[in-house]
């Protein structure tokens, strides 16, 4: 069996995921921005009740998952382009993954406290 080390489709899933997660985040951002910018400054009870809603928690979780996935693809692209030493690049990629995993855990903690 021959193994091709270069060719088509290798980055296809990442490429597509980055774009789909971008659309998810854009929709969430626009809806939230319009909802929050309409009236006067938000009081604490309104803010608390908004994030107590099940749909808001799920929507925010979906946003957070989209963000870490999108950020991983983007950060990996940047590291692959600019950081040439393999060891340093691997270390930075691991740090990025740890950071994103921390964000994810923190988000869940904030939403379901």
């Amino acid at each position: 069996m021959t193994r091709t080390v270069v060719g088509a489709h290798y980055g296809m899933r990442d490429w597509l995921a980055q774009r789909l997660t971008a659309v998810v985040m854009a929709v969430y951002s626009l809806v939230l921005a319009v909802a929050l910018m309409r009236g006067e400054p938000i009081a604490y009870p309104v803010w608390r009740d908004l994030f107590a809603q099940g749909w808001m928690r799920v929507a925010t979780l979906v946003f957070a998952v989209s963000l870490v996935w999108h950020a991983w693809v983007g950060a990996r692209d940047i590291l692959m382009d600019y950081v040439k030493p393999d060891g340093l690049r691997l270390a930075l990629q691991v740090l990025t993954l740890l950071l994103l995993a921390t964000y994810m855990a923190w988000t869940i903690q904030v939403l379901w406290r």
Partner: protein, 134 residues
């Protein structure tokens, strides 16, 4: 071959001076590199900072008030404004890249025009949110 072309030194190596003063990036190139810069800033530190503020704003009435007071500090507002620009630029440039992926506006003239639009719209949005902030 013309004499002007023959005089050019080849190969040409990149250095800081070349990057800063000799290579003139066209506007779509600026939009692209700013998309990267803004994306990196949004991942870190802005995502951590916003998550920190969201955490405290939801914890209790007192910590919500503390976050409100914190957001009134001029330096914090400047930070929020930088975040808003990074977000708006990344969003607008991202929409442009999605349209380019769909083969919309890939000719030279529309591509340059849309990159100018990205720059102007994201700065206008930043100004709008900045005005709301102050």
């Amino acid at each position: 071959m013309s004499s002007a072309a023959a005089k050019k030194l080849r190969p040409k190596y990149l250095n800081l001076r070349a990057l800063l003063f000799e290579i003139r990036l066209p506007l779509p190139g600026w939009i692209s590199i700013l998309h990267r810069v803004s994306g990196a800033l949004l991942v870190f530190p802005f995502a951590a900072w916003l998550l920190y503020m969201l955490d405290h704003s939801l914890a209790s009435e007192q910590s919500f008030q503390a976050v409100s007071a914190y957001l009134d500090l001029p330096l914090v507002k400047a930070g929020v404004l930088l975040f808003v620009w990074a977000y708006c630029h990344h969003l607008c440039a991202g929409v442009r890249f999605l349209l380019l992926d769909l083969n919309r506006g890939i000719e030279l003239v529309p591509a340059r025009r849309s990159s100018l639009a990205v720059l102007v719209v994201s700065l206008a949005l930043t100004a709008f949110f900045g005005a709301r902030l102050w």
